[in-house]
């Protein structure tokens, strides 16, 4: 069975079919289930109008559940989204960006998901729609662990809500072993407001250094008011991170390089402010 609804309500009905799996951009769907033909029902949400594109809302922005990385790159968005746009350009390749969706990146829940750190700094909320209606969750409550989310069977991630970013600037930095098509060793997203040369508001998130990307609240608090961030990132700021050793690098290395990655991202963003 292959469902290809064009309305969200129909999609939600289709999502109730036993064993159905959701297909959007296919960029995680296909690699994850191997080379054989799927033997389960598929719900293709790529033609659901209500979840496409990126739109202005009363309080901010809605990134539709079907919005692709290319949609993010091409959207006219304030500077607070520069970090997310930078992340979008680093997702795989143009081919992946054209098909892969932001929502799918979240649902796939990889520790190295490129979209998560910038969306954490944007205080994004996910909009989940199921048979009993819609609910919203802060992104950090949606992502529960490696390949684990709060999405319940029968629910669809219909969109992300990002509050207005005002005068904020943002940035993103991804460290990998090659230029394109690379999974992060570590990545950093920053989001800040600078007033009179000093940081007045700051959000920092680090990815690929814990089962789920983390904000660094202690660092954010300590750097408020800072004019020069050089040398400000201390080991204690990284105590929530728990990077593992894998083929891409050791945990020790990840903790080590996160420091300059954060500092550089902050300096670059402050220069933009």
């Amino acid at each position: 069975m292959y469902f290809q609804p064009t309305t969200l309500s129909q999609a939600v009905r289709d999502a109730q079919v036993e064993g159905v799996r959701i297909l959007a951009g296919g960029t995680d769907f296909y690699p994850s289930h191997g080379d054989v033909l799927p033997d389960f029902p598929i719900l293709d949400i790529s033609r659901v109008d209500e979840i496409s594109g990126i739109n202005r809302t009363d309080t901010g922005w809605r990134i539709g559940g079907g919005a692709t990385w290319t949609d993010v790159i091409r959207a006219d968005l304030p500077r607070g989204f520069d970090g997310l746009k930078a992340a979008a350009r680093e997702v795989g390749s143009v081919q992946i960006q054209n098909m892969g969706t932001v929502a799918g990146n979240l649902c796939n829940a990889s520790p190295a998901a490129d979209g998560v750190p910038p969306l954490l700094t944007l205080n994004a909320e996910v909009e989940l729609v199921g048979p009993d209606g819609a609910r919203r969750l802060p992104l950090e409550k949606f992502l529960l662990g490696v390949r684990k989310t709060a999405l319940t069977p029968g629910e669809i991630l219909a969109g992300l809500h990002v509050p207005d970013t005002g005068q904020a600037v943002s940035g993103f930095s991804k460290l990998g072993s090659r230029k394109y098509l690379v999974i992060s060793i570590a990545m950093v997203a920053v989001y800040l407001i600078v007033e009179d040369g000093a940081i007045s508001d700051l959000r920092v998130a680090v990815g690929a250094c814990s089962p789920v990307a983390q904000r660094l609240p202690m660092l954010e608090a300590d750097l408020r008011g800072a004019r020069d961030v050089r040398g400000c990132v201390m080991p204690m700021h990284l105590s929530d991170l728990s990077p593992i050793d894998d083929v891409r690098g050791s945990g020790e290395y990840r903790l080590d390089v996160v420091v300059p990655l954060i500092e550089r991202a902050l300096i670059a963003a402050m220069e933009q402010a």
């Binding site: 069975m1 292959y2 469902f3 290809q4 289709d14 079919v17 297909l23 951009g25 296919g26 960029t27 769907f29 296909y30 690699p31 080379d35 054989v36 033909l37 799927p38 033997d39 029902p41 598929i42 293709d44 790529s46 290319t70 350009r89 795989g92 390749s93 143009v94 081919q95 992946i96 054209n98 098909m99 460290l175 072993s177 090659r178 230029k179 394109y180 098509l181 690379v182 999974i183 060793i185 083929v247 891409r248 690098g249 050791s250 290395y253 080590d256 390089v257 420091v259 300059p260 990655l261």
Partner: protein, 911 residues
Amino acid sequence: MDGSAVPMIRFSLNGSDIGLDVETGERLSASLRERCGAKDVKIGCNAGDCGACTVLVDGEPVCACLTATAQAAGRVVETVSGLIASVEGRALGEAFQNHGAAQCGICTPGMIVSAVAWMRSGEGSVEDALGGVLCRCTGYRKILDAVAEAAAGGVEPLNGSGAMGTSIRRLDGADKVSGREQFGDDVAGADVAVVHVIRSPFARAAFRFGDLEGFRTHTDGVLAVLTAADVKGRNCFGVIPPFADQPVFAVDEARFRGEAVAAVVGTPDLMARFKDGDFPLMWEELPAVMEPEDAMAKGAPELHSGRANNVMITGFVACGDSAAALDAATVQVVGTFETGFVEHAYIEPEAGFADIVDGRVEVHACTQAPVMDLDSLEEILALDRSQIRVVPTGVGGGFGSKLDISVQPFLAMAAQAINGPVRINYSRGESMQSTTKRHPAKMSVQIGADVDGMLSGMRFDGVFNTGAYASWGPTVANRVPVHASGPYHVKDYRAEAVGVHTHCPPSGAFRGFGVPQAAIAQEVLFDELAAKLGLDPLEFRVRNALKNGMPTVCGQVFEQGVGIGACFEALRDAWKNALVEVEEFNAKGGVVRRGVGIAAGWYGCGNTSLPNPSTIKVGVRLDGQFVLHQGAMDIGQGANTVISQIFAQALGFDVHDLELIGADTDVTPDAGKTSASRQTFVSGNAARLSGLALRAEILRRCNVESASARIAAGDGVVIVTDGAAVHKVALAGLDVDGDGYVLRSEESYDPPTKPLDQNGQGVPYAQFGYAAHLAIVDVDMELGTVTPVRFVAAHDVGHAVNPMLVEGQVHGGIAQGLGMALMEEFIPGRTENLHDYLIPTIGDIPPIETLIVEEPDAHGPFGAKGLGEHVLIPTAPALINAINMAAGVQMRRVPVTPARLRAAILEAEND
């Protein structure tokens, strides 16, 4: 749609309206290839990692392998075979051919489709636009040049005469850019039965089959099941007959993860859904040894009886008295170096087709060695070789791994079992699991020098992990000691290379047969030795470089053709300038430090002290057409063009007027395997001899004795132009042979070598080629990342047959050397895909300047030397020397990942 019925999917494909009934979730790549016949859409990974399957959907590039066909409904789909006729596609097709931007051609459809999208959108950089397509052959720079030329407009075809030394387009290039070339998986027709191999999930495991007969008879769509019991001949193969040890199907115990134990032949419908778990097979995992030191330890499981301590072979070369010379040396350096498995990562996984034709077995598959495939099949099938035909398909990259048989026995046995056509296409995972790798090496090396900076003793001890089966391990063990001195005059030398079995995938041939690993140890230590002596690294190398008349470590004396000195001289200016550049760059301070490194390499062309003849045949048809039977497998390197150019030069003929017949064991003589950098040298010589013989025959027929006479084909005549005189040889009335030829020649060449004695003394090769690379890198000291800035590569090729193709080889070799140095490490069970196993992308290869050095070789055709492997030997050590200079470290292990380099930087800072 409501899902209860799958309606027909309609879309536009290259301007035609298509309607398809597809399976649930069927990938667009599969629909295009299997239902629409669009075999120009290549599948390299089925995971979005390689981009070969890139097509445009409504003008946007996407991976067809990640797109459900249903998602294309109502859309406009364009593939290379359609786009090549567009304004942009035409320009790209011409420019790709002009620059040699398509070598094997398997990535070319994805590249051209992506480039069309970029030219139309004008958005972003070319690198960003092409970053999603992997190429393993070209090193990308020629692709960037080609796209730039196409974007500039007005592309004119490259016009060369084709004479030796002129750059002409590949003679087989047009089909590569249009997607028409047929690779291993492109030959089978629709609805052909599919062969699927059942493989060990464990490095070592015992296994038992359940009810195979019940499975066969009770599973709809299963046509045959194959196991070791079905091997009619010898269930054992190997590229080096005395070491043959690998079963087609394992018996009772599997020795590596990915080893074949059975195969299922089934209908395409069944096999598209088939899961290994459905096959009646019970596994019992057994303790495995994955490292040579564990395999050699007391009590370790013995992989092959008769190979005590799992030692397969030891290669040895010694001359002079290395111990005494080292003792007497003024300065000494020692180091232990480590390299990992390297995967060939050609973009075309192994694939092929077989059929029973007039009672004979015909195998069409990608291969580097069709006649060796035939040799193996003859034994495995227990068939007379006259009953087997091997027809190579296009080869989407080989680099050594497609020298060994892979799909061939499965195809042949399956075709016999069902008495009809069968196909197979390895998944990326099974290709990476089951085919050969570059040997991991652990090398302890000691080198001394005297107060004048002259070498004084060298000792090399290497242990090479040869995996579960021999493959080309003996060649590696024998080649390494012969080459580990580098192209230097080392009077007192002792080198030993041990090949050790483990429960890892078989290590085999990979561009350089172990020499690139050894070069890392030797060339990096040379820099340390030069530093201890207070000598400039280039000056130290020049001082010790091998020269004409000096013996190699095998006691072989070349009176001519030793080109390493000329390579060093070619780099001298670049080296001087780079040192200044580095100093100025680093004077600015900052976290990024620049370094420059230099390294050399040499490589003996052809088999080591063993016969490896090539035969090239040519015929002239009654209509005057000259037909060259060119059996040297072109795996992207350009043999079709180079061998033809050499032949045409000898004949005195325009290469563009030749008709080529490729390798085919029925009609084309054996030109040997495409390995050991032997085709230009060995098959080139056979082509030269064949050309000369035909020329003599033709000139005799018109009584011309002239070195400058030109020969051309006319209508039913051969035209000989000797100055102002024009002679015609009428072909009518001449006897027509069984091949349809009225004139013909067929000549062979085998390089003159002599066996090595117990100390490795002798004449291992008739010729060596030489190379030296210079690499400039930036190191981010905080992150440990390396950004190569540029390369300058000097290569002594004797006589460049086609300079454009020479550059293509150099670029591609550097890209592979860079990958080995910085990012590539295959870990069995862990990096069996192209997103965990990283090869360089288009953003990772810096500009490369190629300096062609021509020190003619007396044995080479018109002086030419081999090149294919030389090109990556100096790359990794040059990079490491540059990194060591930039970062003040001593790297001992490749790949130099950011984590490893950062650890070394921290260690150096703490010292």
